[in-house]
């Protein structure tokens, strides 16, 4: 009889040999949400109203009512979020098999490119060269795009919304097609406010990450933090969206399991 795998993991967690990295930004009223042109419906920011805090409305207990969009803060995009995924089976957060919420990740570091050019576009060429250097992207992985964009949270440079639109890095259609069809990724995990580049509504086809990922039943994770703490290979991402009936996405706590003691 083989040794139980989970027992090994449990021991590694207990000893600190496997560490848990928090990839989640704090949900607060100040955390920016995606801004659409004013004539469209707007993403609600996080809001919190105190119900009681050991006071006349509840002498021994503290709790709040909260409100937000499904896509506020660190959040998960289900295939139904995009029109291309509207007819897929199990395309909403309540219907996605729980098995899909735990998956390994490969981290592609484009932080230097993004620092040099906020509009850096990830292409298939770039990915193929990356594979030459680091190895083939295995199937069934989250593609975690490290941009260090999370370091801009709290500044206007995070959304980077100028008069000609937002400026933030993201993939083109070729890169997403490659990741979905040739590398069978679980989804794209990013630090920016959306899986697509800031200028991607001008790409052809527009918004390729949303369009191609969700059209093929893949997921998005946005507004992540700390991707710079993950190894290129070997991290496991745990990302369980709230089980919202018919939900297109959900704010969530995203964690990663990584091997090795903290430095």
């Amino acid at each position: 009889m083989s040794k139980p795998l989970l027992a090994d993991l449990a021991m590694a967690l207990a000893s600190g040999q496997v560490r848990v990295i928090d990839l989640t930004n704090t949900l607060s009223p100040d955390f920016p949400v995606i801004v659409l042109p004013p004539e469209f419906g707007q993403c609600a920011p996080f809001r919190m109203e105190k119900l009681s805090r050991y006071d006349e409305n509840g002498p021994a207990w503290y709790w709040n009512n909260i409100s937000m969009n499904e896509h506020t803060g660190t959040h998960f995009d289900a295939p139904a979020h995009w029109v291309t995924g509207k007819d897929l089976p199990s395309n909403t957060v309540d219907a996605i098999p729980a098995q899909d919420f735990v998956a390994p990740a490969v981290v592609i570091d484009i932080s230097a490119e993004a620092a040099a050019d906020a509009d850096f576009v990830l292409t298939r060429d770039f990915l193929e060269q990356w594979e030459t250097a680091y190895g083939t992207i295995p199937p069934g992985h989250w593609i975690a795009l490290r941009t260090d964009w999370y370091k801009r949270v709290g500044t206007a440079a995070y959304l980077n919304l100028l008069e000609d639109g937002a400026h933030s890095p993201g993939p083109d259609a070729g890169a997403v097609e490659f990741l979905v069809h040739d590398r069978n990724c679980v989804g794209l995990a990013v630090e920016t406010v959306g899986t697509d580049a800031g200028q991607a509504s001008r790409f052809n086809p527009p918004l390729p990450a949303h369009s191609i990922l969700h059209g093929n039943g893949r997921f998005g994770l946005q507004c992540l933090t700390n991707l710079d703490q993950l190894p290129t290979f070997g991290a496991i991402i745990v990302a369980c969206p709230l089980k919202i009936e018919g939900g297109s996405g959900s704010p969530l706590r995203v964690i990663a399991l990584v091997e090795g003691k903290a430095a």
Partner: protein, 412 residues
């Protein structure tokens, strides 16, 4: 001649804050009716249906012939027949404002009346009567110089009845809009010392930002009326330093009720304008109330700008009108609460505002400059209700004349 107001000195931290007492509030229904008209800046007296004589003070029947009385706008001239100075009083409010000058005025409209006197008027003078509200919201006749005198608005007795922006520190809740920016600048021009200019999203640029934030006297502050904690944080910082609050937030979207309405827009509007108003009041009303008689820059007023269509509803803007209705209702309740503490609560009523959300509405529309002017006028005059433009005036006049008809007209 009135001594010009000097910039208020910084408060001595060892001196107890002077509590804002208000004059006795118990008045007849007739006096309350006079107050309602005073709040609109009108000069009215009761006139008898039968003998056509004007009468003062407010009564239930004509003192000459027992006929029924109705309110009528009157000529506002008068001559001061007698004057005196009160040097002692057991009333908590007047006790703190002695000496206090009053007189007897022969009103051009007929009656003799006991009136408050501006410092520049005395016995025998022709005066211009104004119907004012006192700190508690009661009607009072105030004799002003017939012609403008130097620093007339600085008269200490007059300032008890007004909320003049001069040397005051004012919070304007939304500086991201053209309206908020126009209001802020108009207040500074009217002598405000500082305008704290709210910005709900400091990380997001807005039109006119560089210009308005460079204006002397503007201090940008983070404030989102949909975020309770941001209000609590700002009230914690500024509550004791803000003398006037002007709420310029607005969320207007086109749409009907059963057709073309958008629930998210309605919710957003209600959260910002209605729940937001209550958040704002809960954050700032207590500190304003505690400082309603705190020297020359005592806290004085809370101003709210809302659509006149809150009174009637409006076809094509159903949700926004419903929001305005709720806003006007909260303001009416707040006015009653604040009258007990000596803070004036002012409604500035607008027609369709000339902004990006009323592009389909044909002129005339209310401009930011008109709203700004109305805010300053209402504060300087101590009014409770003011219309920013002719559209608002027209709707208000029709509504006062026949509310049910006006509701029908505006929802066709």
């Amino acid at each position: 001649m009135t001594d010009p107001l000097t910039p208020p000195r910084r408060k001595d931290p060892l001196v107890t804050t002077h509590l804002g007492h208000v004059s006795p509030a118990l008045r007849s229904r007739a006096a309350t009716a006079m107050a309602a008209r005073a709040g609109q800046g009108r000069f009215v007296l009761q006139v008898c249906d039968d003998c056509a004589q004007a009468t003062y003070p407010p009564r239930d029947r004509c003192p000459f012939c027992w006929g029924a009385l109705h309110w009528q706008d009157q000529p506002n001239g008068a001559v001061i027949a007698a004057q005196t100075t009160i040097r002692s009083s057991i009333d908590l409010f007047f006790k703190d404002h002695l000496p206090w000058r009053i007189g007897t005025a022969r009103l051009d409209a007929g009656p003799m009346a006991t009136v408050h006197l501006h410092g520049d008027v005395g016995r025998g003078d022709r005066v211009r009567m104004e119907l004012k509200l006192d700190r508690a919201g009661n009607p009072a006749l105030f004799a002003m110089p017939e012609k403008e005198t130097p620093h007339m608005a600085d008269d200490p007795q007059l300032r008890v009845f007004t909320a003049d922006p001069k040397y005051r520190r004012i919070l304007v809740t939304d500086g991201r809009s053209a309206t908020g920016q126009a209001v802020a600048e108009a207040l500074l021009k009217a002598g405000a010392k500082t305008v704290f200019l709210g910005n709900a999203d400091p990380l997001m640029r807005y039109p006119g930002q560089d210009r308005i934030e460079a204006v002397d006297g503007i201090e940008p502050v983070r404030l989102s009326l949909t975020d309770t904690r941001s209000i609590e944080a700002l009230a914690g910082q500024l509550g004791g330093r803000v003398d006037i609050v002007v709420n310029t937030v607005g969320f207007t979207r086109q749409g009907g009720v059963g057709f073309g309405g958008n629930l998210n827009n309605l919710q957003s509007g209600l959260d910002l304008e209605v729940t937001g108003l209550m958040r704002l009041a809960q954050g700032f009303a207590p500190a304003l109330s505690a400082r309603s008689d705190d020297g020359d820059n005592a806290a004085a007023a809370l101003v709210d700008i809302a659509s006149i269509h809150g009174l009637t509803g409006r076809a094509g803007f159903a949700g926004s009108s419903a929001t305005a209705a709720a806003r006007l209702s909260l303001i009416a309740s707040l006015r009653g609460e604040m009258a007990q503490t000596g803070i004036r609560v002012i409604s500035v009523l607008t027609g369709p505002v000339d902004d990006g959300w009323h592009q389909n509405v044909p002129p005339p529309k209310t401009t930011a400059a008109q709203i700004a002017r109305a805010v300053v006028t209402a504060l300087q005059q101590g009014q409770e209700t003011i219309c920013a433009d002719e559209v608002a005036k027209d709707v208000l006049a029709r509504w006062q004349d026949d509310p049910i008809l006006t509701i029908r007209e505006e929802n066709k």
